[in-house]
Subunit: 103 residues, 5 copies
Amino acid sequence: MYAARVIGTVVCTTKDEKLSGRKMQVVQPVNLLNLEDEGKPAVAIDTVGAGESEIVLVVGGSSARQTHLTNNTPVDAVIMAIVDYIDIEGNKIYDKHKWKAGV
Amino acid sequence: MYAARVIGTVVCTTKDEKLSGRKMQVVQPVNLLNLEDEGKPAVAIDTVGAGESEIVLVVGGSSARQTHLTNNTPVDAVIMAIVDYIDIEGNKIYDKHKWKAGV
Amino acid sequence: MYAARVIGTVVCTTKDEKLSGRKMQVVQPVNLLNLEDEGKPAVAIDTVGAGESEIVLVVGGSSARQTHLTNNTPVDAVIMAIVDYIDIEGNKIYDKHKWKAGV
Amino acid sequence: MYAARVIGTVVCTTKDEKLSGRKMQVVQPVNLLNLEDEGKPAVAIDTVGAGESEIVLVVGGSSARQTHLTNNTPVDAVIMAIVDYIDIEGNKIYDKHKWKAGV
Amino acid sequence: MYAARVIGTVVCTTKDEKLSGRKMQVVQPVNLLNLEDEGKPAVAIDTVGAGESEIVLVVGGSSARQTHLTNNTPVDAVIMAIVDYIDIEGNKIYDKHKWKAGV
């Protein structure tokens, strides 16, 4: 899984019927050591109600179909967790609650 | 999933029988932030009637077999949505209808 | 799927029994816009009788097992179509029949 | 599979219910020839009780769901082994027990 | 599938129970045109009794589970063939038997 920041949304009227009602978000992958942008943005289905600017985990490939919202659906990237904390070698390098407060 | 622009077609007479009647299109991946070309073109099966120059979403891997047109078929890239809007950090950076009108 | 040129063959006596009788070919990926070599050669199972120097389509991953010759077989790349024509933005950039005639 | 060093943990309160109780670790891929860091860190589910700074093996894609802790779970990277020794061309380039003792 | 040279082994005492008795080898990918090293080494399960320095084929992803030794096992790379010959555009660029004899 990779960490990413939710940066936008995609709206599609014409789509596979199994995608009906699924929220498509644009995710910008971030480096797990410093949360800086790294790599190309992708489109992922949100299954946990993630909001814009939140740091989330994205699962790819066939495993993206292993949530109750994406079972048997033509999707290859799904947001399946919202990150609260990241600890690297004993240092809390990300805390969702402080981060949101601007600390 | 990644965003791409439909730029062409591929015709194959000799092919796996399950591909019979499937439309193969050439898709050029685009950056989700500015819709500029990025990366190598690929061949994808169209399941939504996408036209040339439209911005679409492409799903890859085993999930490409999760549409009614590609079930149990040897394909690893499928167009499963036509993009109407892309919003990035509050700005509508793509609107299919205005885009087509040359705005 | 990606386009590739068939450039050679691989022969293996000692192999998984399910590979018995399968033809292994070396494929050189080509750019879909100009058919120039691009990227590293790979080994793919031929399911359509492709000949050396032909432009073919290669499917990867689990979908490579969706042909009658590769079902339940340990392969991750299969040639499943021989390309006749490629049209890019209205121009026929490849025609198998003219190409073979040296035009 | 690739070798990696466990460098941290990720905590998520809001997540897919099947991830409940699963330990998410941050893994830094290492080069198998010299164990130096190489490539981007990722998030993997630990199924073998790996500790921080240990060298482990990570399996990706759908095969990450083939452990008793990750069956039918939306995960695409799992730690499924802790490395004791690595031998390259006859030389033991890594020995977990000596390494831990500072040799 | 890609060609690789077997360059070492990995030993893990603590591992997923389904990996018990499976031989883990370090494989160095090689270019199919000249057999020179290319890309990063990986860990693959040997299913054909490959010896060190032999040129083998490696299959990745879910297809790595399609051998009798790796069925339902958390592995994403398997050695499933030992290469005897590679012909590129009519030239035998590799012959296992001559190669071993130092020719």
